[in-house]
């Protein structure tokens, strides 16, 4: 057994996290920053952070992840990182010529208390920032929140630095996706276009982290939201923010800074959440939902009505990030599955009541935990006490799935042992179809594997 020391008896822990269901803020900030065109993310701390984040993102996307670091040594840790950051800014603009440098902090620079605003001002004053280029930042102390918080903070940083209200009204909608894949961002843009809505999506990692193989490395790939587009978000009609944990802070800032109202929705994962997204977009832009979208929905629902027997009453354990889990739980409930163990390492008081509200009397006794000590060790123990038919989560779930012999669907971050997540969306009705397909494959492969010879089914 891979996790042979995990006992089924659950003892409450206060201090020790075992097998976390989250990671730290800076990696989320780095990921979000890659969704700006021509952006070089910069990690202000010791170089191990940057190396770890680049490695983890690379394993997940199998794509180049370019980012630089302030390379703190003991001296910088004692005297502050200003000299390192100023030198880094100069070197990055000289050698790598980005349009924008997006700095995030680390637990080291946060503990020291480096004032990034002041250092950036000094970089401009000293002439280290070429004309027309930009340096932005956000604070991402690793000892607060999770990687999702870091993503949210960098997205809010984009608003803080770029969004402008020129007084010139633009007939466009801002869409802020929570932490989703480049495939999802591409799909959200496609849906908006299909609906005839002019949308600015930020951040946008499509065509950055799913860049085509062309035999040459483009340091700054073609994708990413452009700076003019980011600036224009202050003149938009409305912001649609998808997923409160990843996007609400940015949407609220855009409202207070530029008076662009926002509608906060769930990530459009599953039928109901996608329905709300489509309706929201249609309302916001005053467009009718085109028949093509309705047809997409119909195809997705058709799979459900064809195959529901395989989903009905199946118990599911899921772990990951709160915005995904919220929408996914609702989808599973729509399928009349039973999500009984739901774990997220990301803290936040609104998570559990929201999930309970979705589960209501349908799955009244589910274990829902997030924040401190809500980890995969606990999830595994819960599964030992009440087994499930399906496990959904990131790659680390496969250790539980193998030990407990549970069908496993990979969803979330990081996925380091399969491809697909960056190419095929889980959002929208197309995403519904993909989720149905991978869940069915997992469940039916298991049925095929375990069926006695006499009841091995040809047609399913």
């Amino acid at each position: 057994m891979l996790l042979r020391h995990t006992p089924s008896e659950i003892k409450e822990r206060k201090a020790l996290t075992i097998n976390p269901a989250k990671t730290c803020q800076p990696i989320g900030a780095m990921y979000a920053a890659l969704g700006i065109h021509g952006c070089l993310p910069h990690s202000h701390g010791s170089q191990g952070c940057c190396a770890y984040h680049r490695s983890t993102l690379t394993r997940h996307y199998k794509e180049p992840i370019m980012a630089a670091t302030s390379s703190f040594t003991e001296g910088a840790s004692v005297f502050g990182g200003q000299a390192n950051l100023l030198q880094a800014i100069n070197n990055m603009f000289t050698v790598y010529a980005p349009e924008v440098i997006a700095i995030h902090t680390t637990c080291l620079s946060e503990t020291i208390g480096d004032d990034i605003n002041q250092i950036i001002r000094k970089a401009y004053d000293d002439g280290k920032v070429p004309e027309g280029k930009h340096v932005i930042h956000c604070n991402t102390p690793s000892y607060v929140g999770s990687h999702v918080t870091g993503y949210a903070n960098m997205v809010a940083g984009m608003v803080k630095y770029f969004s402008e209200s020129t007084g010139r009204y633009r007939d466009q909608i801002n869409i802020i996706p929570g932490w989703v894949e480049p495939s999802d961002m591409r799909e959200i843009k496609r849906i908006a276009k299909e609906m005839g809505v002019k949308a600015v999506l930020f951040p946008d990692t499509s065509d950055v982290l799913d860049a085509p193989q062309r035999g040459k490395h483009m340091f700054y790939p073609e994708g990413g939201v452009t700076i003019p587009d980011l600036k224009s978000t202050g003149d938009s009609k409305l912001t649609i923010a998808l997923g409160p944990f990843g996007t609400e802070s940015a949407a609220a800032l855009l409202d207070s800074k530029c008076k662009v109202k926002y509608e906060l929705l769930d990530l459009p994962i599953g039928i109901s959440a996608t329905d709300r997204f489509i309706s929201g977009l249609s309302r916001a832009a005053c467009v009718e939902v085109p028949t093509s979208i309705t047809a997409e929905r119909g195809r997705a629902v058709d799979i459900i009505t064809d195959m529901q027997q395989y989903f009905y009453n199946k118990k599911v354990a899921l772990f990951g990030d709160p915005d995904q889990l919220t929408a996914l739980t609702e989808f599973l409930v729509d399928l009349e599955m039973k999500p009984i163990h739901i774990i997220s390492g990301t803290p936040g008081k609104q998570f559990e009541p929201r999930i309970r509200n979705i589960l209501k009397d349908k799955v009244p006794n589910a274990n829902v935990r997030n924040g401190a000590n809500a980890d995969l060790f606990l999830l595994h123990q819960l599964i030992k006490n009440e087994p499930v038919d399906l496990l959904i989560g990131n790659t680390y779930g496969k250790y539980i799935a193998r030990d407990e012999d549970i069908p496993f669907v990979r969803m979330g971050f990081p996925i380091m042992d399969r491809i697909g997540h960056s190419y095929f969306p889980t959002v929208g009705y197309a995403g519904v179809m993909r989720l149905l397909e991978i869940m069915l494959s997992a469940l039916l492969d298991r049925q095929d594997r375990d069926a006695p010879e006499e009841s091995f089914e040809l047609v399913m």
Partner: protein, 541 residues
């Protein structure tokens, strides 16, 4: 492609690379980029700070300590003291394989333990939480040992991890020890290796004096069992007749570390990460060390012969010769098949503190040429050989890594060879306690680059157009986007083993695939190919 016998002078490309940098950066980088001239003694700048903003391969001291050296040991609970990230990123990502003797035996390597510090712990200190975490780990798992790894904020907020460890050791009655391996220490993961060596030496080595049965007892140092390398070497060593007391630290357990001072020879694979341990064991217990290289079939044979000569036992020597003969038959068969397809092709290697040297052996065996190489975190002695050690200036970044003061152990110091015997063996060409470094391997006008940056990587690939580039995960897809296959030499691209005889066979087959595959021809669509003509073909029905 270049003719591999006449290397193009890389001086011009070096100048071109430097011209892009701000002057101060160019001056500094210039000293880390050396055009090889074997006729002259050459210095290289290494183990110095990475320049902020210049994209580097390097990681941190924590990664070197927790990830590299202590990570591969299965029966210890390694608790990361800090915010969640560091523990998360070092969770199972280095591919150290381990095989506990039985299904019930301890293996905590699949687990990640962290104190997951929150802002209140940063403000009010994290010692209390650490103490509780150690207690909870003990209550849950009853391990024989627990160690604690400090992340960046720990040093700043002043948590005394060593005091907490001492206190809990006393309370729990098991071995508990801590490492001050904050990420900002030193200039790369190398600092963490040193810190890990010190901690293991202080807290574990020598705890168990039981003398195990067996002849020709050795420890294997600096072998981390990536992709099962240590399994292959265990197989070879057993067939050759050596008794392996302990490996630092692939497929290892605490009991073997504790007992490792009873061995009669230390053999070093990765010189950079573990030479401290060998030196300290020699000083304290009288165990000499030999630098070996089990990467490459010929290198493996050579290393086994060195080890046999050290013991000087005729039966052992014969047994080693027979093993080499048996194993080389299979090796040569695969080489006959693969070498003609690989011969003359060019490789670039930028990895580690040993691998950029060791893997040149494998490429040599395939008839391939390493035109450009360097370490991510090597020191000058890894490049120039240990004879430069007295010349290396201790700078501020090295000074803050503890140098243990080690003396002869009153009772347990036992010179395995007399000074006379050592002299005589050395005279006969056995290089005891020596290492010549990477540069000795590299021919005239090859290029040696320490701590290569991303920018330099791209420029040098454009210049050399290598058939294969070896580095790590961060470089993997950048280089492949340029149409050049990249072999990861940290994770082996999830393959291996590559050590020993069977490892060499695996590597030949893998490199043959990588440098000869046709997949790269798919990149350019037919309508973009030079001279492409749109022709219409109709299938006649």
């Amino acid at each position: 492609m270049m003719d591999h016998d006449t290397l193009q002078d890389p001086l011009a490309i070096k100048e071109e690379i430097l011209s892009k940098y701000p002057p101060k950066v160019a001056r500094k980088r210039s000293k880390s980029i050396v055009v090889r001239d074997p006729e002259n003694e050459q210095k290289i700048q290494a183990n110095v700070r990475t320049i902020p903003g210049i994209i580097t391969q390097r990681g941190c001291a924590y990664a070197g300590c927790k990830g590299v050296v202590l990570g591969p040991t299965r029966d210890i609970i390694n608790i990361t003291h800090g915010p969640i990230g560091c523990g998360f990123y070092s969770w199972l990502t280095r591919r150290n394989q381990t095989k506990p003797p039985g299904n019930e035996d301890e293996n905590f390597m699949t687990y990640c333990f962290s104190t997951d510090m929150q802002d209140s712990n940063i403000v009010f200190g994290g010692e209390k939480k650490l103490r509780e975490a150690i207690q909870e780990a003990y209550d849950l798992f009853k391990p024989r040992a627990i160690s604690v790894f400090s992340t960046c904020p720990i040093g700043l907020i002043g948590d005394d991890v060593h005091a907490v460890a001492r206190e809990m050791k006393e309370k729990l009655g098991i071995n508990v020890f801590a490492f001050s391996c904050e990420g900002y220490k030193g200039v790369s993961q190398s600092a963490g290796h040193h810190i890990a060596n010190n901690g293991l030496f202080k807290h574990v080595v020598g705890l168990d004096d039981t003398v195990k049965e067996g002849d020709f007892k050795i420890n294997m140092l600096g072998e981390y069992n990536i992709g099962g390398d240590a399994f292959e070497l265990e197989r070879i060593l057993e067939l050759a007749g050596f008794t392996l007391i302990s490996t630092f630290s692939g497929n290892s357990d605490m009991g073997r570390f504790a007992n490792s001072h009873t061995a009669d020879l230390n053999v070093i694979m990765c010189h950079r990460s573990i030479n401290y341990m060998a030196e300290m064991m020699e000083t304290k217990f009288g165990i000499p060390w030999l630098k070996v290289n089990f990467t490459g079939a010929k290198a493996t044979a050579k290393s086994l012969r060195k080890m046999a000569r050290y013991f000087g036992d005729k039966k052992l020597i014969n047994r080693v010769e027979k093993l080499i003969k048996d194993e080389m038959a299979a090796v040569n068969e695969v080489l006959r098949e693969t070498k003609p397809r690989c011969e003359g092709k060019l490789a670039m290697l930028f990895v580690g503190g040993s691998r950029a040297h060791h893997y040149q052996e494998l490429f040599n065996e395939l008839g391939m040429k390493t035109v450009c190489a360097g370490y991510e975190f090597g020191h000058r002695d890894d490049y120039e050989g240990r004879e430069v050690l007295p010349d290396i200036k201790i700078d501020a970044d090295s000074r803050n890594i503890e140098e243990l003061f080690v003396e002869k152990d009153d009772k347990r110091y036992r010179p395995r060879k007399s000074a006379e015997e050592i002299r005589s063996l050395k005279k006969k060409g056995l290089e005891i306690g020596e290492y010549d470094g990477l540069m000795a391997e590299m021919g005239k006008q090859s290029l040696v680059v320490d701590d290569i940056s991303h920018y330099e990587t791209e420029k040098l690939i454009e210049f050399y157009k290598p058939h294969i580039f070896c580095a790590g995960i961060k470089e993997k897809y950048v280089v492949q986007k340029m149409g050049v296959p990249l072999k990861q030499l940290h994770s082996y691209d999830y393959g291996g083993p590559y050590a020993g005889f069977r490892g060499a066979i695996n590597f030949y087959l893998e490199i043959d695939r990588m440098v000869n595959t046709r997949i790269w021809d798919l990149i350019i669509p037919p309508w973009e190919k030079n001279g492409a003509e749109i022709t219409a073909e109709y299938v006649s029905l």
